[in-house]
Amino acid sequence: MTDLTYREAMRGAIRTAMQEDERVFLMGEDVGHYGGCYAVTKGLLEEFGPQRIRDTPLSESAFTGAGIGAAMNGVRPIVEIMTCNFSLLALDQIMNNAATMRHMSGGQVTVPIVIRMATGGGRQLAAQHSHSLEGWYAHIPGLRVLAPATVEDAGGMLGPALADPDPVLIFENALLYNETGPAGDPGSVDIDHAAIRREGSDISLITYGGSLGKTLAAAGQLAGDGIDAEVLDLRVLRPLDDDAILATLAKTRRCVIVDEGWRSGSLSAEIMARIVEQGFWTLDAPLARVCSEEVPIPYAAHLEEAALPSAEKIVTAARTVLGR
């Protein structure tokens, strides 16, 4: 099986979708002539032409709204928003239109749109380009929220997302674009379930997206100390795969949640709440989590590094939970 970059896998998924279904088109800022802010769409303008690869004005609300309207009228738009930080300009469209239309129309109108956006810090892009807001979107009923963390998921999630009759948001951690890995079989990827990325018996490390690599590195360090950590990749942030979360908890009875979002009111908080609601009697230690520090993500490299989750922080948290 060939190794691809995350970027190439995503591009390949867009290409395949556009080849297979002429209703699919892509639009966003700089996706055409520039090839995409993260070069995901490089070459697609030449291949599919300006009707289907559309550069838009710098107005997230306008082009996201246009995409929602297009989806309501039977086409299959992929909207790329440069980073999730800018998606707040489109939040009204995403929440008040995309997420609610099926409900408001009594089931007559659906919004089969896919909105892709980059997320996460670690690239010294400072506080207006580095935040992780996927937890906010995971709050909203009516949306499906995906966080591909592997090359295989980057290539495989777009297809089922486009097939979903309701709006799907895909959060791509920008640090992952250069990661390489096996392409996998895109046909075997689902958008319903979490996945165990490493089997273990002593403690569960639950994470998603850009933190998966750090978490696997932490699990490797812990293994050196005889601590056998299981790593669960959530993959789908809404709806959460409660069964997978509780199954790994039932096995290890301890857990650390790694979430690049801020701690307060976060996805990690929601996961903790569900564990306590549904798995309290199986727990053998207090729950712990590693999140971003509650500051705007700093520009300075060492401060940014200190603000984000790291393998060392995960190792420390796991050791604290285990008391060793």
């Binding site: 009697w281 053998d284 230690a285 207090p286 200190a306 922080k313």
Partner: protein, 389 residues
């Protein structure tokens, strides 16, 4: 709780390699002790600790290179331990870790606040302890800050008398007794009855029985009491069975447990299965065997887990009465005091008779005092005609 961190051995030091640990977990360290050797670009340096306490865990292996400020070891003591070099290394020891170093170091994970005076036990540990009737207060936790974890309950739940083939572990047995009796007194609404019995018929029958027999064929009074109790509870099923989550379940079989004291402390109450179905000589053999094996720590798990009711007999050197505690999930325990000669009113005359107090502790969730009184009366009748036992 202190954390010993990779010290900053000069403003330009960003990381150090741990060469060797000179102290191991469990060892005590005092202010100024050298606990590790760290390799820096200035050479190998012996690192001191400035906190007294016990090394709880070493967090970094020799050969690992870690940034300044990284936790190297946990020390159980007060305050925050900070690594320093010894003075003869010729480096400023008063310099705190640089701000930049602190920024790249993983901060110590904060523990959730503890509730004062609260027993620290995980939900999983509590669930298992409740299932097994184990008192958490009797368990020593091995988790963070001494928290009781599932594994602690699992190891505490081993039946003490079966765990040691070459003897009895007194501390484990004491924990088991503490757990069972603590649970009993917490959960079971005991009521108590006591009845005085004229033992003259029983004892004279017994001495006549023994007179004609070789020593090994004789009977002890305890066996007669055991059989009488077994036959009696067979007729009173509300005293023979188990009270569990779904209420009281009488047992069809009667397996009477006998409280057997262990010299030096402790006791066990193993059962002789289907007690009422054995003849007195058979029961005597079984009881002899059971007492011997109990004291050697060789009980079988079925004997431990099986009793449907228990008797406690003080024997000839005890005291007049006892108020026993029910062994959960059983619902009754019968106590036999020491027979002793007492003045006894008989047919308008005063006589001297061997008198024994028999007591009953009943679980009021499963049975009542009126029935308990009838049960003790029944035992009295049975003991008056030991030849029928």
């Amino acid at each position: 709780m202190g954390v010993f961190t990779m010290p900053s051995l000069g403003a330009d030091m960003e990381a150090g390699t741990l060469v060797e640990w000179l102290k191991q977990p469990g060892e005590r360290v005092d202010h100024g002790d050298i606990i590790a050797v760290v390799e820096t670009d200035k050479g190998a340096i012996e690192v001191e600790v400035f906190e007294a306490g016990e090394i709880e865990a070493l967090l970094v292996d020799p050969g690992q290179s870690v940034p300044v400020g990284t936790a190297l070891a946990r020390i159980a003591g007060d305050g925050h331990a900070e690594g320093h070099v010894s003075d003869d290394a010729g480096i400023d020891t008063d310099k705190p870790p640089a701000a930049a170093a602190a920024a790249v170091s993983p901060p110590e994970q904060k523990r959730p606040p503890r509730i004062a005076a609260e027993l620290r036990a995980s939900p999983a540990a509590r669930t298992l302890a409740a299932d097994r009737g184990i008192d958490l207060a009797a368990i020593t936790g091995t988790g963070p800050d001494g928290a009781i974890q599932l594994s602690d309950v699992e190891s505490a739940g081993v039946q003490p008398a079966t765990a040691h083939s070459n003897g009895v572990d007194p501390s484990a047995m004491r924990r088991a007794i503490a757990a069972a009796m603590g649970r009993s007194k917490r959960d079971i609404p005991h009521y108590y009855l006591m009845h005085r019995i004229d033992m003259a018929p029983t004892l004279s029958w017994l001495s006549k029985y023994n007179e004609a027999r070789a020593p090994a064929e004789r009977l002890l009074l305890g066996v007669v009491l055991l059989k009488a109790a077994a036959v009696a509870v067979g007729d009173f099923p509300d005293f023979n069975g188990f009270y569990k989550a779904d209420g009281y379940q009488p047992s069809e079989a009667v397996h009477v447990g006998s409280a057997i004291s262990i010299r030096g402390g402790g006791l066990a109450a193993p059962a002789i299965r289907n007690t009422a179905e054995h003849s007195l000589p058979d029961l005597m053999k079984k009881l002899r065997d059971l007492v011997a094996r109990t004291r050697r720590g060789e009980l079988r798990s079925s004997e431990i887990g099986d009793p449907t009711v228990t008797i406690s007999s003080l024997g000839e050197r005890g005291v007049d009465s006892l108020w026993p505690i029910i062994y959960p999930p059983q619902v009754a325990i019968i106590g036999f005091g020491s027979p002793r000669t007492h003045p006894w009113a008989s047919d308008d005359a005063l006589a001297i008779r061997p008198v024994m107090n028999v007591s009953l502790a009943g679980d009021h969730r499963a049975n009542d005092g009126h029935r308990g009184a009838l049960l003790l009366r029944h035992i009295e009748e049975l003991l008056a005609h030991p030849e029928d036992l």
